[in-house]
Amino acid sequence: MSDIGAKKRLSIAAKAGLFLLAGFVFIAIFADFLAPYDHTSQSRSLPNAPISAISFSDENGSFSLIPRVFEPKMTDALRQSYTHDPSRSAKVELFAKGYGYHLFGIIPLDRHLLGTDSDEIGLHLLGTDALGRDRLSRLLIAIRFSLIVCTIGAAFASLVGIALGLVGGYAGKIVDTVISGVADAVISLPSMIVILAARVAFPLELPPMTAALLLVGLFTFTGWAEMTRLTRGLVKRTRTLDYITAARISGVSSGRILVRHILPNIARPLLTQATLILPAFLLAEATLSFLGVGVQEPEPSLGNMLAAANDLTQLREHAFVLLSPAIVIALFVLAVRLTNTGLSSNEDREIT
């Protein structure tokens, strides 16, 4: 009886996970539209500004549905502390005009979800960073960047892993021994240390796009092994089944048997494993960029934004905004896990 309760709870978990994931995908697609400001534009007069003060009242102090933001005023340049000036404010606008970008990479647009009616007073929902760049805009672009890099990395690692697992599991003998031996070695070693060691083989300072490509390569370098082990085990179990023997006797080639007869039957657990690689890569990207050997400024990534939180005096003043990329990372991992446990429990139900 409690099992039914558990399944119901899990399916709610799956819904919550999918909802969160959909949110991430939405952010990745509409990052430019959602970002109020250009993530590279700096404002040196407003470094480390706090979250904009917002008030639901008009100039006369009576209630208004249209919120206003106040201009932050620096009170102490050394400690970078701010108050706001109640006399200088701007109206918050929906679909405000801002920097130009291309939606889906093709449609030229210059409207953004939120903005202000003034060029001087900005809406900084997560404050600004040390160079006065809008932190929310950077966070949104970073989510897009990290998601793209990690999805490509996970796809590559899965493809390489599945291919090697298929070959090893089906060929057997010496090929299998070598592949599974290396895979076991790679799995047993801590991937973070292996990635860091391999990272040294390349220049430490790289332009963002090269760094992203390198990260995909490094993720593939360590990520294939788990997939290979899983695929190999599944192939070994499947290849002795009658329908495979039947296919072999009727003269179907090995390659065709692997791709047409074995792969579709083991696709589901492989897909589950592939989704589990995704958060692992997101974390690896964040860790490397955090350590300064991944994606570097000016391109924002979740990791290099987090590096600002490693400053003790800053962390004391602005803990929440500095840790916001960490919260995003935790939410993403949570979303994938919720979806995964939810969906795999549905699978169990189908079988029983």
Binding site: A185, L189, S191, M192, V293, N310, L312, L334
Partner: protein, 301 residues
């Protein structure tokens, strides 16, 4: 038993050879070393750099260098670190112990939570408690170490807890808690449905005694396998925890070696990490062997 140890030792040597060779060739083929940044310095002539490289033996072919590295590694001499200018073996070992103690504490924390919660679940079979356990597993599994160690840093800054060691240990243990708890809870739950538990109940043993004396023993083996496997993950996790919290150890040493392109030091790190992973897996297998009489019987056949 002897057979087992011979097999494990051969496996260990193979692992060391594979990782050291892979790391050595990858790092040597990089085309850059600790002196690369010197080339941009106009005051250092190319000849001086070549002389420096030659004094460290960097001008010889890769295979020759790997051969001599291997020969001295066999005598426990891993060369000198470029950055620290001290013997690598000594440096790596001392930092490794510091991390090993941390990892030990992390495993202790994880075991304490996993065992006590699983015991309570098996003893009282409360639905609320089971939901609470599921929640803990989910939250702990999805809180990455980078997040938790930054929060630990924030706690340190605000001065709520001041012990760097225990904060690092807690940060390091977080995903392990979820893994161990999920595994042990499940296998204890399975064990409680076995025939020997029914027999023990029929004998009139108290529920607590049944769990502690009979079910625990049956449930512990899968958790031991997991323990052996998670050792590598703990060492990998120490990279971020130690760097963020600023505690010297093998993880923070790796980061320093990477930032300074200290290749002998990185080789040393790879060797000690491979050794530790191998030792952890062997230890887990030995413990399983001691715990499970059936495995002993298999060996006897």
């Amino acid at each position: 038993m002897l057979h087992f140890f011979i097999r494990k030792i051969v496996q260990g040597i193979l692992l060391l050879l594979i990782t050291s060779a892979a790391a050595f060739f990858l790092l040597s083929s990089a085309g850059s070393d600790a002196f690369t940044s010197l080339r941009e310095n106009p005051q250092v002539s190319a000849a001086a750099i070549e002389k420096l490289r030659a004094s460290y033996g960097l001008d010889r072919p890769v295979i020759e260098r790997y051969g001599s590295w291997l020969a001295s590694a066999a005598r426990a001499d891993l060369g000198d670190s470029f950055y620290y200018q001290v013997p690598v073996a000594q440096l790596v070992l001392s930092r490794f112990w510091s991390t090993a103690i941390l990892a030990f504490a992390a495993v202790g924390i994880a075991c304490l939570i996993a065992v006590s919660l699983s015991f309570l679940n098996a003893r009282f079979r409360s639905r609320t408690l089971s939901a609470f356990t599921d929640g803990i597993i989910l939250v702990f599994a999805s809180t990455p170490r980078i997040v938790i160690s930054l929060f630990a840093l924030a706690i340190l800054v605000y001065g709520a807890i001041t012990s760097v060691f225990w904060l690092s240990a807690i940060s390091l243990s977080v995903p392990l808690v979820a893994l161990l708890l999920a595994q042990f809870n499940q296998s204890l739950n399975d064990a409680m449905r076995e025939d020997f538990v029914r027999t023990a109940r029929a004998k009139g043993l108290s529920e607590t005694a049944i769990i502690l004396r009979h079910a625990f023993r049956a449930a512990i083996n899968p958790a031991l396998t997991l323990f052996g496997l998670s050792l590598g993950a703990l060492l990998g996790g120490s990279v971020i925890v130690e760097t963020v919290i600023g505690r010297p150890g093998i993880g923070s040493l790796t980061v320093i070696a990477v930032r300074n392109r200290d290749i002998p030091l990185l080789m040393g790190v790879m060797i000690i990490v491979s050794l530790a992973v191998w030792a952890g897996n062997t230890l887990a297998e030995v413990l399983q062997f001691v715990n499970d009489k059936r495995l002993k019987a298999q060996e006897g056949e």
